[in-house]
């Protein structure tokens, strides 16, 4: 079978599925199981279509009646879009498995019809964005994706916080779309075509549209300093939506950057250096703020900012190296960016789904109310732990493989660049990345240790039960993928570079060397662990007793370190960035010995929000109020405006 036929068939299949879904969604009492099954079927179908047409690439234009105005919608499937679509299908499949169990506890809060309608629209539009080959199709699909995701964030819209988050997110998407439209229009006037393949960013005039496009994508990806919507939107949305948003949606801007700017031949040093700095700052800023979060989903959202920063950094390294004529470094960095996109997509969806399972069973995502889940939800715990190891880039998991490639590209650029400045920058970046890695370890050890180990800090956490079988299955699927991609990273890299070669101007096609003996090491580690356990520990006599309590009687859950106290020493070191305020009040008559009331409040102030965003918003609304005076509602005034405008225009006409 040839590729266009399969593509058409899958489009028809998707349309039918969507139609069936829309019909199903209209019903009052939506069946989550049926729709989840449909979602899985869509994902599996897409995956099958992608695999069947493995070596082919093609361009597809919609025939006559399905035009957008006078333009046909054009789609392109090549190596790059195939890679991203595979990721999307995998994430969709696992969210489909996860949904029926998870949505049960949201039954009263959200309306099923609205949720599923937006969810399906969201998923299908993401397929559309990745497949689109021209700017018009891209922006149409992009808008459907943005707006449907806003609707999903607002699913539980009775909460005040959710309303606020949805509005912030909506504002961010509007600004991003505006910038993108501006960039696209500018490029159209420069190149005379809407087709991405015709755009050429090598000319010096293309710097400004490139900057607009970069900014638009950065806002949507949540790159510093445009990240503030992300920690609002992710916690507000249901876990399945956050998994899809963090796992895939914020990778679409990266895809866009590669598709439009990288393949458009961008090499302007201003833009690449700008992207480099933004990436480096996001990586550090994201993980620093992730460290001090108490809401697990907010923590994961900040960690997404970190990882998007890493991906952007790798892209920038690749572009810089290409401009400096170092194809080896450029190829390693580009492959690293693609691989890290894929890995982070899988891992972040896994983590969001695990937190969703915790939220569903223990009714909280607040680290102050969790703990002790190790014995209640061991399966979920194992999945969350493995995901965390991967995101901390611990070998042998997939996070390590892509992080290693980023390190390697920096190492190679330190060796190969001619200028001392570039070498110094690469070295400093290696230093920064290792600090970011260590902070990520701190963050996720806190999430794992405080969230799952120790004693339960609340009643609901104490009575949590293991998640349903579908939820376990979906997490396990993602864990298997993460471990597999990590252990067999060299094969995965071969596939990725094969796909990258199928797309024009992405890499120069040098083979990526991955010399680490990860499969052997994994085998060795597991065997050694088993040997130590079986030979020594299994036979030792074990007595179970209460935790060492200094003779003061049994410990209460409150004596454990809280999430704040765990992060405190690190937060202290970064005081210039983290405005970390602790207020403690101790009250009572004899407050030294018998305090009656003890309260400690820890507050983290986000500097960007407080110092820059809120003041500029206030200024905009102040100016807007000033402008409002112009619209006084009096017809006389309006006539005066018309008259004076006319006079000014006439004057201008005579003068010019």
């Amino acid at each position: 079978m040839n590729a266009p036929v399969i593509f058409l068939e899958s489009v028809v299949f998707l349309m039918l599925a969507a139609l069936a879904a829309f019909v199903l969604c209209q019903k009052k009492d939506v069946s989550d199981k049926a729709l989840s099954f449909l979602l899985c079927a869509i994902a599996a179908g897409a995956m099958a279509a992608l695999c069947l047409t493995w070596n082919q690439q093609f361009l597809f234009e919609t025939p006559a009646p399905f035009l957008l105005g006078v333009f046909p919608l054009t789609f392109r499937l090549d190596g790059l879009s195939r890679l991203f679509l595979m990721l999307l299908s995998l994430i969709l499949f696992s969210t489909g498995l996860f949904s029926p169990g998870y949505l049960k506890h949201l039954k009263e809060k959200i309306s099923g019809g609205q949720y599923w309608l937006s969810f399906l629209l969201f998923s299908l539009s993401m397929f559309g964005v990745v497949l689109s080959a021209d700017a018009i199709t891209f922006i149409v699909m992009w808008e459907v994706m943005s707006l449907s995701s806003v609707a999903l964030v607002a699913s539980d819209h009775t909460h005040h916080l959710v309303q606020k988050s949805a509005l912030i997110y909506l504002g961010a998407t509007r600004i991003a779309s505006g910038l993108l439209c501006g960039g696209f229009l500018w490029m159209h006037s420069l190149c005379g075509s809407w087709n991405f393949a015709d755009w050429n960013f090598a000319s010096p005039q293309a710097i400004f549209p490139a900057l607009l496009i970069l900014l638009g994508f950065c806002i949507k990806a949540g790159v510093w300093p445009f990240h503030i919507w992300l920690p609002y939107a992710h916690p507000a949305a249901p876990a399945t939506v956050s998994a899809l948003m963090s796992g895939f949606m914020i990778k679409i801007p990266i895809y866009g950057l590669i598709r439009i700017l990288v393949q458009g031949g961008l090499y302007a040093p201003e833009i690449t250096n700008f992207a480099f700095v933004l990436g480096a700052i996001s990586a550090f800023w994201g993980v620093l703020f992730a460290l001090v979060q108490n809401d697990l989903k907010r923590l994961l959202a900040y960690s997404s900012i970190e990882n998007i920063g890493l991906i952007l950094l790798a892209l920038a390294i690749s572009l810089k190296a290409k401009a400096a004529n170092l194809p080896v470094v450029a190829d390693i960095a580009m492959t690293a960016a693609l691989f890290h996109c894929f890995n982070h997509g899988l891992v972040k969806s896994l983590l969001f789904l695990s937190v969703g399972a915790v939220d569903c069973q223990a009714h909280s995502r607040d680290l102050h109310k969790l703990g002790g889940l190790a014995k209640k939800m061991p399966w979920t715990m194992a999945c969350f732990f493995l995901g965390s190891f991967s995101i901390c880039s611990i070998p042998p998991l997939n996070g390590f493989a892509s992080k290693w490639l980023i390190y390697q590209s920096l190492f190679k650029s330190t060796l190969m660049y001619g200028s001392y400045l570039e070498r110094g920058i690469s070295l400093a970046t290696i230093c920064l990345l290792s600090a970011v890695g260590a902070l990520a370890i701190a963050t996720f050890v806190k999430a794992m240790g405080v969230g799952f180990l120790g004693m339960s800090r609340s009643h609901s956490a104490e009575h949590a039960e293991e998640a349903s079988i579908g939820m376990k299955a979906s997490q396990s699927l993602l864990v298997v993928l993460c471990v597999g991609l990590g252990v067999f990273a060299s094969s995965a890299l071969k596939i990725i570079s094969q796909l990258a070669v199928m797309s024009p101007d992405l890499t120069s096609g040098t083979a990526i060397d991955f010399p680490l003996p990860i499969p052997m090491l994994t085998g060795l580690l597991i065997t050694t662990c088993l040997a130590i356990y079986v030979i020594f520990l299994q036979s030792s006599k074990v007595k179970i007793f209460k935790t060492w309590d200094c003779g003061f009687g049994p410990l209460s859950a409150k004596t454990q370190a809280s999430s704040d106290s765990f992060a405190q020493p690190l937060a202290r070191i970064f005081r210039p960035f983290l405005r970390y305020e602790t207020n403690s009040t101790i009250k009572g008559r004899d407050r030294r010995h018998f305090p009656e009331e003890i309260a400690v409040e820890v507050k983290i102030v986000s500097i960007l929000e407080q110092r820059i965003y809120l003041p500029s918003l206030a200024m905009i609304s102040y100016l807007a109020k000033g402008m409002a005076k112009l619209q006084a509602g009096s017809i006389h005034l309006y006539l005066l405006y018309v008259c004076s405008t006319l006079v000014i225009l006439l004057l201008l006409g005579t003068v010019l």
Binding site: A442, L453, G454, K543, F545
Partner: protein, 324 residues
């Protein structure tokens, strides 16, 4: 005897010697530090291999674990010990070593991180505040010291042109002795690895592992709940980590010497063990003479280590031009 037989014999003797070193050097390090401190305090001190005897005794004892704990605790000990053994096999901390696979420096640093993560999880599993605060401090030290260690190794990698530690520590740098900075870089990196290992192992002047528990805040607090064989394993893993890091530092110093004097394999082998012993003794001297830093002053101490590594890395990046 044929050549093949001699070759086989050599491999066997390498392995036997290496395994002996893995078993004996870590307790010897601890013993040397204790002995030096005792001598400086005018005591006789325990015999040199007392730590080994202690570990053997611990292995015979029963084990008590907390009722709060999940399986994570015992798993963590096993994983930490296994990782340390694998690291001991891969890292070139001795000059004589049997065959090992590609020991990429980034992989090595992140394998250390794997061991650290599991130690931390084990500490948090008991639900006691001691463990958690130890973990919190360990994670802080880890953040401070990881860039220093990584940059030091990267500096070495830069001037050997590879990130594989086997090639870096291969005594093969005679061919580019033209760069006079070579012994200097080895020395700088050696000092930075040594100082960062003091932080990494939470020894003086960052933390005093031999004081009263309330004052000992990092490693000893984390393993407070461990007992019996579990404790023996985790102590041994910690001592092994110490000898690997001291060994790496000693190797740097030996390489600095080898850049100036040509020496035979036997001398190098003897020097690599002797170097570890000398470092252990000097750490003992340092611990007797210095006082523990206030916790807030630790970042300043680490700043010196990081700048040492940075200096080495910049020099290495600069001299690389002449070579390439």
């Amino acid at each position: 005897m044929t050549d093949a037989n001699i070759h086989l014999l050599k491999i066997c003797s390498d392995w036997i010697l290496f395994v002996l070193c893995i078993v004996l050097v870590p307790p010897l390090c601890l013993g040397l530090i204790r002995k030096t401190k005792a001598r400086l305090q005018n005591r006789v001190g325990p015999p040199l291999f007392q730590p080994l005897l202690d570990l053997l005794k611990l292995c015979k004892k029963g084990e008590t674990i907390s009722s709060t704990m999940s399986g994570t605790f015992r798993l963590s000990t096993v994983v930490v010990l296994a990782t340390m053994l694998v690291l001991a096999w891969m890292t070139p901390w001795l000059s004589f070593k049997p065959w090992s696979p590609n020991a990429d420096l980034f992989l090595i640093v992140y394998l250390f991180a794997l061991a650290r993560v599991f130690t931390l999880l084990g500490a948090l599993d008991s639900g006691s505040a001691f463990g958690a605060f130890g973990a919190s401090r360990e994670v802080t030290l880890g953040l401070l010291v990881e860039p220093a260690l990584l940059l030091g190794l990267v500096a070495l990698g830069l001037f050997s042109g590879s990130s594989d530690l086997r090639l870096i520590f291969a005594y093969s740098h005679f061919q580019y002795l033209g760069a006079t900075a070579v012994p200097g870089i080895w020395l700088l990196v050696g000092i930075s690895i040594l100082l960062s290992s003091l932080v990494e192992l939470s020894r003086m002047p960052v933390d005093d592992p031999t004081t009263h528990l309330e004052l000992t805040m990092v490693h000893e607090a984390m393993i407070l709940e461990a007992s019996g064989r579990n404790l023996a394993f985790i102590e041994f893993a910690h001592a092994l980590r110490m000898s690997i890091l001291f060994g790496l530092a000693a190797q740097c110093f030996v390489h600095a010497a080898a850049a100036v004097w040509c020496m035979s394999a036997l001398t190098e082998g003897l020097l690599s063990i002797g170097g570890i012993c000398v470092i252990a003794i000097s750490v003992g001297v340092l611990e007797s003479l210095s006082v523990k830093l206030q916790w807030r002053k630790v970042p300043e101490f680490v700043a010196y280590v990081v700048s040492m590594s940075l200096l080495a890395a910049f020099v290495a990046a600069g001299t690389g031009v002449a070579r390439l």
